[in-house]
């Protein structure tokens, strides 16, 4: 059963005040809060078995290695990857994307085409632009409609035998749109292109099954789903990961090192140079266990209630315009009020204890599309309440009164 009161008790940060007001945390799309179950795992690691993994013969190293590899299996099971070694532990989504962008440098040829969407985060734009600069490949963009939905007809016309890779986010961070990745992947595969899905925003709301999707690469960050910052994962099909060269050289990623020639380790270690964020990796597994304990279907149903309620309340305020009204959305509302600058609203909401995001959300092309400097973005998690939404609405009305 979904017991909101008990769930909120798992998150100690929800008890604090900000500027003398109880904290209302609606910046979950930037980073989620951390439950005791995850904090305790991090503390337990440093208190009881902190040691380097994959090479010690001593007990602590064995315990740490078992816990870290156990977490990899948890990630594998969660995303339903075929093998644990198809899960590369990274520092986060950006790192994961850069491994692939770097790997394709030697593979792409001048004139090859890459496709991204109009609603990508900068981290799913810039690495590909850099790849294009290195290789002479060309970047094409799937446009979107005013409501924030990808124009799939145009996507189909962009695909050709020149298309080598397609990159789309599962969910848009600025708009909350859930993209039709099933169809995007099928269409790309039909012409032989590979697909990378950026799951950073989807991961806390939707459980992706990489085998059912038949996706080539899927990436996400732990801190979006109740895990710590500085950890994430890259899922890749075994054959593709074997084909790509290593990203960074160093310890852990080698089989044999000679001054004449070094051979690389097998997957997943080939892409995991250096000592990883061990506590973070273990905690990533604990975060997935925690969320699966509640259940992703339960989470999605409750967050939909929060989204509907917030949307309805916001629309009742004169002058509010919501950006991103796709039929399928995660619990994110991006909005502006008349001509008021989002920075001004965000500053006053902060004074009233409400944490929202303001600005371009690292998705400047979307802001250019709507010809706005940015938006105010409230993003909800399963530990938020309708009462908190009421508090935001009250604070917003006060801000509007002050600013207009």
């Amino acid at each position: 059963m979904f017991d909101l009161n008990n769930i909120r008790k798992d998150f100690p940060i929800l008890e604090r005040t900000v500027n003398g007001q109880p904290l209302v945390y609606f910046d979950n799309a930037a980073t989620s809060q951390t439950p005791n179950q995850v904090i305790d795992v991090i503390a337990d690691y440093y208190r009881n078995y902190n040691s380097n993994i994959h090479r010690g013969v001593h007990t602590l190293s064995q315990e740490a290695t078992d816990a870290y590899e156990g977490a990899r299996k948890t990630v594998q099971n969660h995303f339903n990857a075929a093998h644990p070694h198809e899960i590369i532990m990274t520092s986060g989504t950006t790192h994961s994307i850069n491994i692939i962008a770097s790997g394709y440098t030697q593979i792409l040829r001048e004139g090859d085409e890459l496709i991204i969407s109009a609603m990508e985060h900068h981290s799913n734009i810039v690495p590909w632009q850099m790849l294009c600069e290195r290789t002479g490949a060309v970047l094409k963009v799937i446009p979107m409609s005013q409501t924030g939905v990808l124009e799939m007809d145009v996507y189909k016309t962009l695909l050709s035998e020149k298309t080598k890779l397609v990159f789309v986010n599962h969910v848009s961070n600025a708009l909350g749109t859930v993209n039709p990745i099933d169809e995007i992947i099928k269409e790309a595969h039909a012409i032989g292109a590979k697909v990378l899905i950026d799951g950073a925003q989807a991961a806390p709301h939707i459980k992706a099954d990489v085998q059912a999707l038949d996706v080539d690469f899927y990436v996400t960050s732990a801190h979006k789903l109740c895990g710590p910052t500085g950890v994430g994962m890259l899922y890749g099909k075994e054959s593709l990961l074997n084909m790509l060269p290593p990203y960074q050289g160093g310890g852990e990623m080698i089989a044999e090192v000679r001054f004449e020639k070094t051979t690389y380790a097998d997957l997943p270690h080939k892409f995991e140079a250096g000592t990883p964020n061990i506590a973070g990796g273990i905690a990533f597994g604990a975060a997935l266990d925690y969320m699966n304990g509640i259940g992703f279907d339960t989470i999605a149903a409750y967050e939909q209630e929060l989204l509907d309620y917030a949307t309805e309340q916001l629309k009742a305020i004169d002058g509010v315009r919501i950006y991103g009204e796709a039929p399928q959305k995660t619990a994110v509302v991006s909005f502006n009020v008349n001509e008021i600058h989002p920075y001004d609203i965000g500053s006053i909401l902060d004074k009233l204890g409400i944490a929202v995001r303001t600005g371009h959300h690292c998705a400047q092309p979307i802001m250019d599309f709507y010809k706005i400097p940015g938006t105010v973005r409230a993003s909800f998690s399963f530990y938020n309440t309708k009462e908190e939404i009421d508090m935001m609405i009250k604070a917003l009305k006060r801000a509007i009164q002050m600013l207009e």
């Binding site: 006053i348 600005g359 400097p373």
Partner: protein
Amino acid sequence: MSIQEIQDEIIEEFAMFEDWMQRYEYMIDLGKSLPLIAAEFKTDDNIIKGCQSKVWVHAELKDNELEFTADSDAIITKGIIAILIRVFSNQHPKDILASDTSFIDQIGLKEHLSPTRANGLVSMIKQIKMYAIAFQTQLS
């Protein structure tokens, strides 16, 4: 008035406000009131792009004193700009270089000068100092 005297005056004014609401209302009024820059200087060359708000700054040397005009697309940012201009405009470059902005902490607006806000104000102060260095070199 010297920079120090103006800063003391502002601190005294802000001490009269009872809470943050009054401080913010005052800043919003400041932000709404005057055009702080001539349209001809509101150009891309003079723009400082923060992640959050944009700031335009223009400087001119008049009788050995620097005159600043500036603007922003966000009202609270513009209110703080009005305060900064009151402090730094019509001052000698060497006095600008010798001054700091710690008075902003004392009037309870510290958070707006934090780099995490990315509202362009930190860069604006840097820009004011850069102008002061440039014109100081020209004068000496």
